[in-house]
């Protein structure tokens, strides 16, 4: 494990207080192993990037963190993933509560076919976060503002969320995730369906959000990982090859496989 890398530029606060600690995680689809013995730590106020070639298991691993793999009947997870020291696969963990604390943004923007307002209000409504309409209004406005979308949509909150542009839709999805006040936000290739300008906006947004959440972003785009993340994990064939401070990974990788990948020799 590359834990011993220089962490001087990280706000790391000791090994006991990681937001998420994963130990020896294995994931299987039926008998096929997709993730092989992965251990990793994720901290608050940090962006962690998962990079690696297609099919390397980075998205699969991401989905174990909010147990979205539960929706795939053939998926099976072994090992231990702790959020604030509590095992999320323990029987006492309510998956509904877990997902409220660990939000997720998907590869393709997936706003619900409802109004912009209702898209944001969805989470607060099902979790009972607003006592009345006025509180809900505040949550919606705050979430949209944090996602940098408020000024663009404040005059048409009742328009359908699906009528927005791709980049706006993705920011709407981020606002939707923020609205339930999560601690961790998982992003599964959030920019892969967007053009460069929309991508730049999302990246800027990730920078701003970093101060409040632990963000994990899966990306194909190595420049993006270098731009937005503080720490980077390189996955290959279901293994975590290297994990460390982003600048180290990109300038001074310890493993030849990492070096080969970031220099474009394969992937």
């Amino acid at each position: 494990m590359a834990e011993q890398n220089s962490q001087s530029d990280l706000s790391d606060n000791g090994t006991d207080t990681h937001k998420i600690t994963a130990r020896n995680v294995n994931v299987f689809y039926d008998d096929k192993q997709a993730i092989n013995d992965v251990s990793i730590d994720v901290d608050m106020e940090n962006v962690t990037a998962f990079i690696g070639p297609s099919g390397c298991g980075k998205s699969t691993f991401l989905r174990t963190i909010n147990r979205m793999n539960d929706t795939i009947p053939s998926a099976r997870v072994e090992g231990e993933i702790k959020l604030d020291g509590k095992d999320i696969y323990d029987a006492s963990m309510d998956v509904v509560q877990l997902r409220a604390r660990v939000g997720m943004v998907f590869q393709k923007p997936n706003p619900f076919p409802k109004s912009i307002y209702d898209n944001i209000a969805y989470g607060p409504n099902i979790h009972g976060l607003a006592a009345n309409k006025a509180e809900l209004d505040i949550i919606v406005e705050r979430s949209l503002q944090r996602a940098g979308l408020w000024n663009e949509v404040k005059d048409r909150l009742s328009d359908s969320g699906t009528a927005l542009s791709g980049g706006q839709q993705q920011r709407l999805c981020i606002a939707r995730a923020i609205a339930v006040d999560p601690e961790v936000i998982l992003m599964d290739e959030p920019c892969s369906a967007l053009d460069p300008i929309a991508t730049a906006k999302i990246e800027e947004l990730i920078h701003e959000l970093r101060g409040k959440y632990a963000i994990i972003i899966v990306t194909h785009n190595m420049q993006q990982a270098a731009r937005v993340s503080q720490r980077t994990a390189f996955f290959h064939l279901g293994n975590l090859v290297e994990f460390g401070v982003t600048s180290d990974i990109f300038t001074n990788p310890q493993q030849t496989r990492t070096q080969d990948y970031i220099t474009g020799r394969y992937g």
């Binding site: 909010n66 979205m68 929706t71 009947p73 509904v96 509560q97 877990l98 997902r99 409220a100 939000g103 997720m104 998907f106 393709k108 997936n110 706003p111 619900f112 076919p113 409802k114 969805y122 989470g123 099902i126 979790h127 999805c173 939707r176 995730a177 339930v180």
Partner: protein, 458 residues
């Protein structure tokens, strides 16, 4: 030669033309021209089609015009001048003589027809030989033309393809044209009905007790409102109260909760249920459900509950419709992108919250379309209501009363010995037309909704 023999002749020559054409094409293949444009089989088909199609077209026309030609020739004979001028007996004599001449009848009953028999025989022989000669001529002309076209570079393949296309086009037109024909006959008979009975009485009258001697300006008992109401009450209200919740819930279970294995068993079973003959449901309604419903109604205080009550027919019809609703709803829920469901689940919504707040609203147009199709199926349904719903045209919202429907009355009006000109019979056509128009509109609206919705997600 009869038409059958001529047809046989045509196809026999067609077969010969196929072999000749194929052999001719095969002979083109040599060491200098190892490849010809089309395979020999296509040349065979080309020759064969040219031998068959013109002759067949001629025969089709011939079948339609030859009886008139024969009759004209018979009547032109001075011996035929003596037969009576009364049109009814005249045509009876002529058709009898023709039947005897062609051998389909043995005995003569009409006076004066026996002397026409030899005339008919002569005329038929005369025209049959013409038909035979013309058919042979067309076969040979067609195949000879085809034969001259056969060359190594001749594109027989694309010519045959065109014939295939026209054949398929013709086949597809037959269903459409038949439907148009049926509608036309319905419209025609319904028009005859409204010339007898005021359409205003028919569409808005509330008294259904059809009588045969129509008196203009009086209530003749052709008010179809009780029938329309009965149809809607049983097919669109009671049946849907049963079918919509159960169909929807089973669709939700199948798409969202059941294991893939259970779904793979249940979905085909549901679809098989949709194919059970409705008469079987009719038995169930009449023998099991109707008495049970009546006993229940009497128990809760409806002492006048009928044994042929609307409730039994409606409930069983609803059960019959469940697979249809479930299948359509299943399709539209399954068509909602998985990203919607994942998005909701990732927000911490439970399965049922996701269904209620995201999947069902997104699938709603498809579900509504499915329900409209189900309604249109239910109001056109006949067997269950004939067996269980009764014949009394009551205008009542009491589900335990005997209520009749449009389809039941059509059956009642057309059963037994009926004169096709009587308002009774014609009323059945008018009812049929109303039913047809309503179900057609329902189907149109439903298919539009379903289609629009599909476009939104694909």
């Amino acid at each position: 030669m009869t038409i059958n023999e001529l047809l046989f002749l045509v196809f026999a020559f067609g077969l010969i033309a196929w072999f000749v054409g194929r052999a001719r094409a095969a002979s083109f293949i040599s060491s200098e021209t190892p490849i010809i444009n089309s395979l020999p089989n296509y040349h065979g088909w080309f020759a064969s089609l040219w031998a068959i199609i013109p002759a067949i077209l001629f025969l089709i026309i011939w079948i339609n015009i030859s009886p008139a030609l024969v009759t004209n020739m018979v009547l032109a004979n001075p011996e035929a001048a003596s037969i009576t001028a009364d049109p009814f007996s005249r045509s009876a004599i002529l058709s009898e003589a023709r039947a005897v001449a062609s051998g389909s009848n043995q005995a003569l009953f009409q006076e004066g027809s026996e002397k026409l028999v030899p005339l008919y025989k002569a005329a038929q022989n005369y025209y049959n030989s013409i038909a035979f000669a013309a058919t042979l001529l067309l076969i040979f002309a067609g195949s000879a033309y085809a034969y001259t076209r056969l060359k190594p570079e001749f594109r027989a393949r694309s010519k045959v393809e065109k014939v295939v296309m026209f054949t398929l086009l013709l086949a597809s037109l037959i269903a459409v044209l038949t439907t148009i024909g049926i509608v036309a006959s319905l419209v025609f008979e319904a028009y005859r009905f409204v010339t007898l009975v005021s359409p205003f009485e028919f569409l808005f009258g509330t008294n259904w007790n059809p009588r045969d001697n129509i008196v203009a300006g009086e209530d003749n008992g052709y008010g179809a409102i009780p029938l329309f109401w009965g149809t809607i009450f049983i097919g669109a209200i009671i049946a849907m109260i049963v079918a919509i919740p159960f169909g929807l819930m089973s669709a939700i279970f199948l798409t969202q909760y059941s294991t893939a294995r259970f779904r793979s068993i249940m979905k085909p079973v549901l679809e098989i249920l949709a194919g059970v003959p409705t008469v079987v449901y009719g038995y169930f309604a009449a023998l099991t459900v109707a008495p049970a419903v009546r006993d229940f109604a009497v128990m809760i205080g409806f002492s006048n509950a009928a044994s042929d009550n609307a409730m039994a027919a409606g409930v069983v019809m609803g059960i019959m419709i469940i697979p249809l609703v479930a299948s359509m709803a299943d399709d539209s829920i399954a068509a909602v992108p998985a990203a919607m469901r994942d998005g909701s689940l990732a927000m911490g919504a439970t399965n049922s919250e996701t269904i209620k707040r995201v999947l069902l609203p997104a699938a709603l147009p498809g579900v509504v379309g499915g329900i409209l199709l189900a309604v249109s199926r239910a109001i056109g349904e006949t067997m269950i209501v004939v067996m269980a719903a009764g014949y009394a045209a009551n205008l009542t919202a009491n589900p335990f009363a005997s209520i009749t429907t449009v389809t039941v009355q059509i059956v009642a009006l057309l059963t037994g010995d009926q004169d096709f000109g009587s308002p009774h019979t014609l009323a059945a056509f008018a009812l049929g037309l109303v039913l047809f128009v309503v179900t057609l509109l329902l189907n149109l609206v439903a298919l539009r909704i379903v289609k629009k919705y599909r476009e939104a997600y694909e």
